[in-house]
Symmetry: C2
Subunit: 128 residues, 2 copies
Amino acid sequence: MSTETRDGAGMRRGIEESNRRFMESFNRGDAAGAARDVYTADATILPPGGAMVQGRDEIVQFWAGAVEAGIRRVELTTVSLEPMGDGACEIGRGSIGLADGQQMEAKYVVLWKQEDGRWRWHVDIWNS
Amino acid sequence: MSTETRDGAGMRRGIEESNRRFMESFNRGDAAGAARDVYTADATILPPGGAMVQGRDEIVQFWAGAVEAGIRRVELTTVSLEPMGDGACEIGRGSIGLADGQQMEAKYVVLWKQEDGRWRWHVDIWNS
């Protein structure tokens, strides 16, 4: 691991960059690509009102399905970011735009890990 | 930090013990005591359908309110536990018994930290 990724500022930059990439891909209509890009290979998501989903391929399918169910835009805002060993814990707020123009507000916790040289979502849970 | 708390088995035992104490206190009617015992001083909880709550005193009030709202029993089951630096990330399932006899199922993520010689909940988020 480089010095860059060990220092707090480098971590924060890497995490901001990954969130930015996710939003950019998702919001131009490529939810599957956004998910494939941001999750670790053995990530877990815990969506409200549904079962846990494990593994990047299954998570990619989940997000593709979310678009079919009407999610169009996602805006993520980091509230706090705390290093934990080689990873980090992010608490944030999400704003979700639906196809019918409605807006939903969510809160989330993401456990971040570095994999293949980038900061990625390893555990992802949210609620209303 | 002792060797005991650094090894994985010691971590798991400490975490099981803290969860057991929480359930024991909560389920005999002492929700406030259970919360005061298990959270770090600057913990954050993210309850579904409500705002984030920060700080142990505020969280104790939240749980006292949850009992007034009808929660009587909580059973926690660890699904996975992953060390992260000096802390750990737990994914689990919760079963919540209500005063009217209904049962609700939940999933949760807890970020664990050691504080004052015990493993405690530092970030706690759940959904349905």
